[in-house]
Amino acid sequence: MIAILGLVLTVLLPSVQAQDRVITIPEGSFHSVLPEVVGEPHRVEEFRMDETAVTNGEFLEFLKENPEWQRSSISLLFAGNDYLRHWKDDMNPGNENELNRPVTRVSWFAANAYCGWNGGRLPSLNEWEYAAQAMDFDSNLEANRFSSDLIGWYSAVDTKIRSDVGSTGIENRYGVKDLFGLIMEWVEDFNPPIADELSLDCGTVGRMQGDATVYSYAMSIRYITRMSFKPTSSTGMLGFRCAYDLNANKMEI
């Protein structure tokens, strides 16, 4: 009996721990596609970031302690009618399989509140993009192939997520998983001041690609998609992960 329990625990525990991992991203700089910064790399200070996106299971814990963010209680100020619409009810994401899948249909306000509750914050746009650019490839060929896969993925992001977090096999050089290939993610300043002058048209996308790196086109798509969000938006392809300042501690869930 104990042996069976032990077996169950060894099977279950690693996956739970994996979700709780926080990864340190060393300081550095990256090239943004925004026209405001032609040529100038952006500096990013050292920070920490969740290894994977926040899951339905983790979000459920947040809702237990913060009932005002449950679907039937949330104020219209903080989310539209689509908020967690795919859950069976306030405290039921559907079935067991959903628990390890990324939570989606959460508004920016809910994501922001979750990360604050958890001892962190949402990653800034620059932090997220910096982490996303930290990919190593063996060859140019591999990099180009990845890039075109990415564009394919962005043009057909599924609104029904059927994969667990950590399952894409895509990982940056520090071990942050699924920055692409699973969901789009909220960032703290998803709609930066410059967004007023930009729109999703070919001219703008063309101008944004000043620096032709592997990711610049995919990145342009991300920036422009993000700028179209409202903070109350809750769509099926949009989830989040949290970031932490170096002196902050992630709460144990």
Binding site: L77, F109, D189, D196
Partner: protein
Amino acid sequence: MKFLKAMSFLVLMLSVSAFTVSAQHHHGDGHDHDHSHDMEQMKELDSEEITHSESLHQIPSTWINQNSEEIQIKDFAGQPLIVVMFYGKCTETCPMLIQRTWKLYSSLSEETQKIINVLAVSFDYKNDTHDALKEYAEYEQLDLPEWHFVTAEQTDIRQLAALLGVKYRERSDGHFDHSNLITVLDPFGNISRRIEGIIGDLDDDIKFIESLVQ
């Protein structure tokens, strides 16, 4: 349109209570339905309506002002509130934005100035501690009882900015790019006027605020 909505809501409520009455009669408990109970039900529904409105009085965040006092936005319920977002280190547009807010406030009648408050929220949670905000308020000669220069948790500041539609972004040199916006909340906490930019005359805005007070 609003009136129509209110009317149909009332009709709905009346039919709900009518249903309750007939349901109770079906139970045949023999008691006359108490009329005051209907009224109570009505009140409950009313308050439900307000909870789900877009009033910023629902924001649960606690802010700390230049005098280290804790403040919530709902503390200002019942009177209009002027909200502006800035940061203390700013030497470019912020002094102008704060000065513009002062111009707006100081142009109101003396009676209005006594009851209306100004909430000036800093983006810069790292540097604008309550002590730094005290210095800033004194430097700008705005350390007044009705003026609250405040800070809060980073996620609270972002949340308020998102609600007001203020965009901001910290640059690598520690300064912030940000929208220049003064927001007026009505006595119920709803956003009732947005004054954009740092130039232009404020006559209509002043009249508008006076009309909210009366």
